[in-house]
């Protein structure tokens, strides 16, 4: 085994005899474009709603729940898809999230939430992951569409404008602190801060 590896390492280290520098540079460049492009295309493919609801775990649970909310159906016809809220849009964070998602592949393979009952039992844990993520990034995925700078408080209800112009404006609270369960059903909230 070691000798085999050593042989390949020697070949790898040796300068090319038959190929020109130009060929190797151009070849490397073209191969790089193809691999990088392919990687990003595949990544984007996993970032579509049809990919998410390709599994019944998502389609029969969280997607069904989303359908009755304002983020799916509303007067203006603008809607949010799964990755809009659940995948960071910026590249580095997106890759980090995609690496975390390998746990979800594990869950899919071993059927961690393959029935409604199993899903309901894990709902609190899964919800807490999302609350933690959104709390940590100051509800970035909400703010990708809902920009505080352009909020017209006069269009909001008195309660909403009071909360938004005080706690949210000062940065004491972030969207997810009050808007939990905005797009999916909530787990048992006993003991969760603000729901005692």
């Amino acid at each position: 085994m070691i000798t085999l590896l050593k042989r390949y390492w020697d070949i790898f280290r040796k300068p090319a005899v038959h190929y020109s520098l130009g060929f190797l540079t151009m070849g490397g460049f073209i191969a790089g474009v193809i691999f990088w492009g392919g990687f990003n295309t595949a990544l984007e493919k996993t970032n579509t709603e049809s990919f998410c609801i390709g599994c019944h775990e998502m389609k029969e649970n969280v997607y069904k729940e989303l359908m009755s909310t304002a983020h799916f159906s509303n007067g203006s016809g603008v809607r949010a898809t799964c990755p809009d809220c659940h995948v960071p849009h910026e590249w580095t964070n997106k890759i980090a999230r995609k690496m975390q998602a390998s746990k979800e592949v594990w869950g899919k393979v071993f059927g961690t939430i393959n029935t409604r009952e199993k899903f309901e039992n894990k709902r609190l844990e899964l919800a807490q992951h999302e609350w933690k993520r959104l709390k940590a990034n100051d509800s970035l995925e909400c703010r990708n569409c809902h920009n505080f700078e352009y909020m017209d408080f006069t269009q909001q209800s008195p309660r909403a404008s009071v909360q938004h112009s005080t706690a949210l404006a000062k940065g004491e609270k972030t969207c997810i602190d009050c808007h939990k369960g905005i797009a999916h059903q909530l787990p048992d909230m006993s003991g969760i801060e603000g729901w005692e």
Binding site: S157, L186, M189, G194
Partner: protein, 149 residues
């Protein structure tokens, strides 16, 4: 005997037809559509009033009406969205009116530590309102006005 039956028959006929006529005069949101039929032109749905201004109560024990939207409020065994503002422990932060102490009583009148299960489902009694004029004229007189007469 024969006459009695005759009288009964005529009597019940008159009674039934009066009921039938009376039914025609009852104003309903379904506009006289029978229960087993679908109303072809139902009244359009309207958004709940969202002004956050308390309305008066029409009679002494009336459950207060909800002065805001409650669209998609989750209210089941796991979660009570209403109580996330109106519960005893949350009112300080939310400044929402606290659930009445009667909601902590069981049916024997004993006070419990938390909202009684029989009062848990808020929407059984408390409803939203829409900004709309009355369907029919209301000549109800409040007990206070009756007393002062």
């Amino acid at each position: 005997m024969k006459n009695t039956i005759k009288t009964l028959c005529i009597g019940s006929f008159i009674l039934l037809s009066t009921i039938a006529i009376a039914e025609k005069n009852i104003a309903t949101l379904r506009e006289e559509t029978p229960l087993n039929k679908i109303n072809e032109s139902p009244a359009p749905l309207q958004n709940a009033s969202n002004k956050d201004i308390k309305r008066g109560r029409a009679y002494p024990m009336q459950p207060p009406v909800i002065p805001h939207k409650i669209d998609n409020y989750q209210l089941d065994l796991k979660v009570n969205k209403c109580l996330s503002c109106h519960s005893r422990t949350q009112t300080e932060e939310s400044q929402a009116p606290m659930v009445s102490v009667t909601h902590f009583m069981d049916r024997e009148g004993n006070f419990l530590a938390d909202v009684s299960p029989r009062r848990y489902f808020c929407k059984q009694c408390h409803v939203t309102q829409i900004e709309r004029s009355s369907l029919i004229e209301n000549d109800f007189i409040d007990i206070q006005h009756l007393l002062s007469k």
